[in-house]
Amino acid sequence: MTLLRMFPVLHATSGSAWSDHPGRLALTVLGIAFGVALGVAVHLINSSAAGEFSMAVRSLAGEADLVVRGPRSGFPDALYPNVAKLPGILAASPAIELDAQLAGRRDTIKVLGLDPFRAARVQPHLLAESRDATFDLLESDAVVLSRAAADALRLNVNDVLRLQAGSDVIALRVVALLPAGATPQRLAVMDIAAAQWRLGRVGELHRIDLKLRPGTDARAAARELQSILPPAVLVATPQAEAERSAALTRAYRTNLDMLALVALFTGAFLVFSTQFLALLRRRPQLALMRVLGATRARLLRLLVLEGALVGIAGSAIGVAAGCALARFGIERLAGDLGAGYFGALAPALTIDPLALLIYFVLGIAFAVAGAALPALEASRRPPALALKPGDQEEALRRLHTALPGTALIAMGLALSQAPPIGDIPIAGYFAVALVLVGAILVAPRCAELVLSRLPSTRYAPAALAAAQLQATPRQVAVSLAAILASFSLMVSMLIMVGSFRVSLTTWLDQMLPADLYVRAGRVGETGYFTPEEQTRIAAVPGVREVVYVRSQNVFMRADRPALSLLARALPPHAVRPPLSFQGAQLEPLPQDPPPAWISEIAADLLGTQIGSHIELPIGSRLHSFIVAGIWRDYARQNGAIVIDRARYIALTSDERVNEAALFLNADSEAEGIGRRLREALPGAAGLEITSRRELKKISLEVFDRTFAVTYALEIAAVVIGLFGVSAGFSAQALARRREFGVLRHIGMTRRQVGAMLACEGFAVGGFGVIAGVGLGWVISLILIHVINRQSFHWSMDLHLPWQPLTALALVLLAASSITALVSGRRAMSDEVTRAVREDW
């Protein structure tokens, strides 16, 4: 039968069911719409931001075919002529590239030092349009700003840009603005010589952008180039550069996408619950259709079509709402939804029609999947049996066996052990989905076991509620599917985030032992303390001990973001720095190379373990180290390696530091020491002096902000789940109208009927809480030990946050009791007595 010919029948069967209960239809459609909207919004925001980020990275390379890139410490500019004169190179543009801290502000701006005449051939869009401005740029205090930078800093031509350089502040005159569309990022372009001098990088380069002669094979040229470069300097295509930048945020973006899909997943369970319960109620009607000649296949198609129509309506609303939500999100929360990954980038919303289509189809697919099982059951039931009263629970008899569900859970747990694919824990996500679906399939059997143990009571409404639930455990479980899915995921997120927060707090206590932390520039790479300044810091009265840290970034692989190399002094007589070590540590033997202590993230990324030897590019050469310990680090997402500062100075002669940890005398007061430090250092304006307590507070605030969106998405899923509970109770209340009528006839007061429904809601909610917490705990283990570990390489200790878990459980209990009451309000109206009277 064609789809068109099915519509009259659909109108006759489904149309009346929908028009009789428009509220429930609306809830189901909204459930799907909500899920699709969140998926679309999160995806659009993420892809817009990532696209803009990638474009920003690529815009620096301009028309270059290859980019030679060194670590943040740079490479000698003497390398430039060797590169430029290679055959096949048409043009070469040397540059220094730094994130400089804005004086008096907490944020940074990217500074690119270019040779304007060479850049004109490779990155012409990074030069001002007027020829005069290009000549003006040769001045040592001149800077050209991108439009994004000018807008963000509210600067115009002839205004002054102030940057932190070392512990000094330098003033730069804005001589021109870059053309609109040159780059989306906040960028300040200087003459290369001026930048090297003013930012203390004389003789250093960070990148050389290369344009190849026509017909030159880029891969061959890259190989040849790499052979003449020092180990710490790598060659990559601009595309690879952009991909490496995208890798920085991929895990975060994928996790958010997955979380958004949870809402859609919950929506599918909502369709499953409502459709199952609605079809149970419509059983005689459907059986009658079969009696009148509708074939099994036709009935099945009809009911699946019902689900598809719900999906189409929900998807259409969801896609439109998702676009609006994305626009709102990108304006209010920027591209990273509050997590701070994309820095100062202010992306514009890019609507991707293919993504919209995918989410539209996903919404329909989820709705059809939700409707398929109930449709299959309804079409298979022999009409004679379906027409018999009390057949509803029989319809769910197939759910009696826990075998398929148990098998899915076992498969999920087995899958959780699989490694990530392309740094994304694909198997982990599938494991969560399988465990979730498996648990929902096992839920009816569990409901049967749990509800059969409800205590007996003399209180008639409670006893009646218990009897009702004991007789219909599978219907209870079906109505709980959506809330079980969302609640358990919420519980798992609470446990994961709670575990993370407690682990972070412990880590902060361990990693921040000093009283005060002083940084030459809070962020960026242009702030540092010279040895002379270090002496002055140590000499400040009240300071008992100072531990200095020099941080650099080093590229270990061309396709990976740079790792942080931290050179810090070991405490007197200590063989290792005080870090949050995980597992055993190693004390190198005399014949071993010097020790390096690597973060868990670095260990995962480099595939190393205790005792492994690693080659670190320090000072333009590779140096061998032995991994002497693996430590937990929540601060540097791309990995960090700690080495002894004495060794670092020996290898590089670089005695500068970025940070100083100050231990004060017992009678010293932090505020007074801070004042004295500013007096002791001439460029005190850019100093960041933070107490341990403040640093901890800031860190936890950043943590909470990062997870705010996560919570918002989870709460959305729980709301959809509550729709499911509401739809479930409402379907049951409708199906039981006659029962309520009989009870009112034989003397049950409205209050008693209300109490009975509230008891049912409470018991169902209670089962949901027990099952949800248990399931959530299992999923949280996968989140903590598989998904988080594989996505972000962070380990954490399991911690159950009882307070929020209890609060969430109480909310669910209250919500299900109230929902049951509200859904059953018809039971307490006069209409119910009419339900019985219909027979008179």
């Binding site: 006893a463 009897a467 009702q468 029962e739 009989v742 034989i746 003397g747 019985v836 009277r837």
Partner: protein, 223 residues
């Protein structure tokens, strides 16, 4: 015990229809009366008004001297719980309760002690001849057995008045005769009154008095 005085009831709408026109009726303890009438004659409406499930437009319904119109919904519910039993044409046993649980429901709602409720339920089930089916679920019973259970539930709390709506409407003639016999016997045993609404002349013959409701008027049926 039950007195209806000039009870009038109309249903609204575009063309209002007067269903009951000044009905008066007195039912004393031990009475067993039947009300016959065509479909739509107003039998159900009359039964609803007697039970306090519907209200009359005019006239009074006194139950043991208490005017039902003066009672609120809660008080009318409590009156039904304590003093009235119902037998429905469609039986209306709750499918998720066993026969015994269904029958003892009025006792549980009335707060009767657990042991006493169980004993009274057992006696009642034996009295209607389905003592062996106490633990069975309604879906496993025949029509006659289900109606016996329904009668047991209607009488277990020893109400003053039994209201039965087409109690044999869904039964074959043999089962119907048995159910009517049980009904009559139990009403007499509990010294209650019964009002039976029926289409069936055979059922009506079991009553002491038979009324006919026609055109809104209630009249004694001719012999």
């Amino acid at each position: 015990m039950l007195t209806l005085t000039r009870v009038t009831k109309s249903y609204g709408g575009i063309r209002p229809r007067q269903v009951l026109c000044g009905i008066s009726l007195a039912v004393a303890r031990g009475d067993f009366i039947a009300i016959m009438g065509e479909s739509g004659a107003g039998k159900s409406t009359l039964l609803n008004i007697i039970a306090g499930l519907d209200t009359a437009d005019a006239g009074a319904v006194l139950f043991d001297g208490v005017d039902l119109a003066a009672l609120d919904d809660n008080a009318r519910t409590l009156l039904r719980r304590d003093s009235i039993g119902f037998v429905f044409q469609a039986f209306h046993l709750l499918p998720h309760l066993t026969v015994a649980q269904n029958v003892r429901l009025p006792l549980d709602l009335g707060g009767v002690a657990r042991g006493e409720a169980a004993a009274r339920t057992r006696l009642m089930l034996d009295a209607v001849g389905i003592g062996s089916l106490a633990d069975a679920y309604p879906r496993t019973l025949s029509g006659g057995e289900t109606q016996r259970a329904s009668i047991a539930r209607a009488l277990v709390h020893e109400p003053d008045l039994l209201l039965a709506d087409e109690p044999t409407g869904n039964l074959d003639s043999e089962s119907a005769a048995q159910v009517l016999a049980v009904l009559r016997e139990q009403v007499e045993r509990h010294a209650a009154a019964a009002v039976l609404v029926t289409h069936s002349h055979a059922a009506a013959r079991s009553a002491q008095r038979v009324y006919v409701l026609s055109a809104g008027k209630l009249e004694i049926a001719p012999e």
